[in-house]
């Protein structure tokens, strides 16, 4: 029997990747991108599993649904009831949380969680790589500005300016980017 799965994910590219990993398992997957009226939409769809980024602030809204005591409402249990601590730990490390309808067979859940955990681990890696690239670019910019300041102030070449930055960084046991950043800040104060 196929499961009805809801993915709460504002980023369409990420949502598509999760769908791609779950669709081959034959499940019926719906994406909710908007956090507004989240509780009402989840109730309408009445899913077996809701997958949401662990850091999504809307998680607390789903927590509330898990407490719904109205027998007519579909009860949502917590995170695999936390009985499978290994799976829960893996999921948390990957950054995905799951809300599961009460009484769902553990083995049927396992397939979905394995796929979701793999995808979220990939997102995490991508996010880290993106962050590293962004930081490298920013450092690059600051170093270029610091070189410019030195070239103008001391009338030296670009290579000499970089050599000076590098030597200062080595002498002080700091990173070139840190020295450059301090220089740019100081120059900003003095100008």
């Amino acid at each position: 029997m196929k499961l009805r799965i809801v993915i709460v994910e504002p980023d369409p590219a990420r949502a598509r990747l999760v769908i791609e990993s779950l669709a081959p398992l034959g499940h019926d997957v719906t994406v909710i991108a908007e956090s507004a009226a989240l509780a009402r939409r989840v109730r309408e769809i009445a899913p077996d599993i809701v997958l949401i980024d662990m850091a999504d602030p809307s998680r607390d809204v789903l927590e509330e649904m898990a407490l719904a005591s109205d027998p007519l409402e579909r009860p949502v249990a917590f995170f695999v009831d936390r009985t499978d601590r290994d799976m829960t730990r893996q999921a948390i490390e990957a950054g995905v949380s799951a809300y599961v309808v009460a009484g769902l067979q553990p083995d049927r859940l396992a397939g979905v969680m394995d796929a979701a955990i793999a995808r979220f681990q990939m997102f995490r890696r991508m996010r880290t790589e993106l962050e590293t690239t962004r930081r490298a670019l920013e450092e690059r910019k600051v170093i270029d500005r610091a070189k410019g300041i030195l070239m103008k102030a001391r009338g030296i070449s670009e290579d000499d300016a970089y050599a000076l930055l590098r030597k200062t960084a080595m002498d002080q046991g700091r990173k070139v980017a840190e020295v450059a950043s301090a220089l740019v800040t100081a120059a900003g104060l003095l100008s």
């Binding site: 956090s35 507004a36 009226a37 509780a39 662990m54 850091a55 999504d56 602030p57 809307s58 998680r59 607390d60 809204v61 789903l62 927590e63 509330e64 898990a66 407490l67 005591s69 249990a77 917590f78 995170f79 009831d81 936390r82 829960t88 730990r89 948390i92 949380s97």
Partner: protein, 388 residues
């Protein structure tokens, strides 16, 4: 000196101040703790991080560890409440439409009298009210339920993450909210809401956030637990000194912490609240407290009050709920670890809640200590030992 790494989780709110101060003003370092503060974007995330060991300690809504001890909410891990991080500090806000109707009917928005505010709200409501709260287990949920119990008013509590509260009010998804600062002031500045009460008007001494750890962690690390408690307690004492509040606001405004304007953070810290988009000012001396009046002591009777309220709301056994809540308040660790730091310690670990209308001297280890007023808005007295 041995330096231990400790990760402590928090949610961006004004009341995480003792943690930020413990790190930034060197109180953690003094105890040989390299404190790493880890920001969480929701209370459920923070709870999971603590339960599954991604942080050693966490700032928590006081009712969260209590609810867990009562078996509510699925996560069956025992937590300990080491100390209270903050008392009071929430506000109740209304949509401009509701506020205008109340104003039109002659209500003065004194920001003080919860009985009068309730009567004005009941008269102005045009139908069932939808009230936003940050989490199902929260001071906010319990205080609002207590305040509106028995009023001729239909209402529904709905969970909305604090940073989304302003937008939900603007879009008309909710008619009112109860939220921790600075989010109430942010709603005022965005001209979408008017503040009607500080939470202290409902219960003058509601413990708001607590410092919680896993029970097995505090058992395995007794010395480190004590060092963490002293660092946070000294930070709270520092925050109590009025001259330090400007610096505190500067620290909290940083992007890594609350990421809100200094001026908005200062309102609750100084007690000078702006309650309406028109700029009406109200003075609330104990808008939020971190230290004075034995604020950080984890009174069992206060936990018992939350347990009794939640037992009622979720149809659980009252006596068993109170016993479970009392057991996680580590008054024993508080006494053992903070005596040497100079904390004055009350003679008892529980008291009648709601009996003090003025600051009152009571017996303590050093002779006498002053307890802050703890009255409820309806003058009821809560006795944790009574059967109902």
């Amino acid at each position: 000196m041995i330096v231990d790494q400790l990760r402590v989780g928090f949610v961006p709110l004004l009341d995480m101040a003792p943690l930020a101060v413990a790190r930034e003003m060197g109180f953690a370092a003094e105890e040989g703790i390299a404190l790493e503060l880890v920001r969480a974007s929701s209370w459920s995330m923070l709870r999971d991080m603590l339960v599954f060991g991604q942080v050693e300690a966490a700032q928590m809504l006081a009712p969260v560890p209590i609810a867990m001890a009562m078996g509510l909410g699925g996560a069956a891990t025992r937590l300990d409440i080491l100390q209270v991080l903050s008392v009071n500090g929430d506000v109740i806000g209304l949509s401009q439409r509701l506020a205008e109707r109340m104003r039109g009917a002659g209500y003065s928005f004194d920001f003080r009298d919860a009985q009068a505010a309730r009567a004005a709200l009941v008269a102005a409501a045009e139908g069932p009210l939808r009230i936003g709260i940050p989490f199902p287990f929260s001071t906010h949920a319990e205080l609002v339920s207590y305040w509106l119990a028995g009023a001729a008013l239909e209402y529904e509590l709905t969970t909305i993450p604090p940073p989304q509260m302003v937008e939900a009010l603007a879009r008309g998804e909710i008619d009112a909210f109860c939220v921790g600062e600075p989010w109430g002031s942010v709603a005022v500045d965005a001209a979408v809401g008017t503040l009607v009460l500080p939470s202290r008007a409902i219960w003058a001494v509601a413990p708001e956030k607590v410092l919680a750890v896993r029970h097995d962690w505090s058992e395995d690390n007794p010395a480190l637990t004590g060092r963490l408690m002293r660092a946070v307690w000294r930070a709270a004492r520092w925050l109590h000194q009025t001259g330090n509040r400007g610096v505190a606001a500067d620290i909290l405004a940083r992007r890594d912490y609350v990421n809100a304007p200094v001026e908005v953070l200062e309102r609750a810290l100084s007690g000078n609240m702006v309650i309406s988009p028109a700029g009406d000012l109200r003075r609330v001396p104990d808008m939020i407290r971190f230290f004075e009046g034995a604020a950080s002591f984890p009174w069992r009777s206060q936990a018992a009050w939350f347990a009794a309220q939640m037992a009622e709301r979720f149809s659980l056994d009252r006596a068993a709920s109170i016993a479970a809540a009392s057991a996680i308040c580590r008054t024993d660790l508080y006494r053992r670890n903070l005596r040497s730091a100079g904390a004055d310690l009350p003679g008892a670990s529980e008291k009648l809640e709601g009996s003090l209308h003025h600051p009152t001297a009571v017996a303590s280890e050093q002779g006498q200590m002053i307890l802050a007023p703890d009255a409820f808005f309806d003058s009821r007295i809560f006795d944790p030992l009574a059967s109902h």
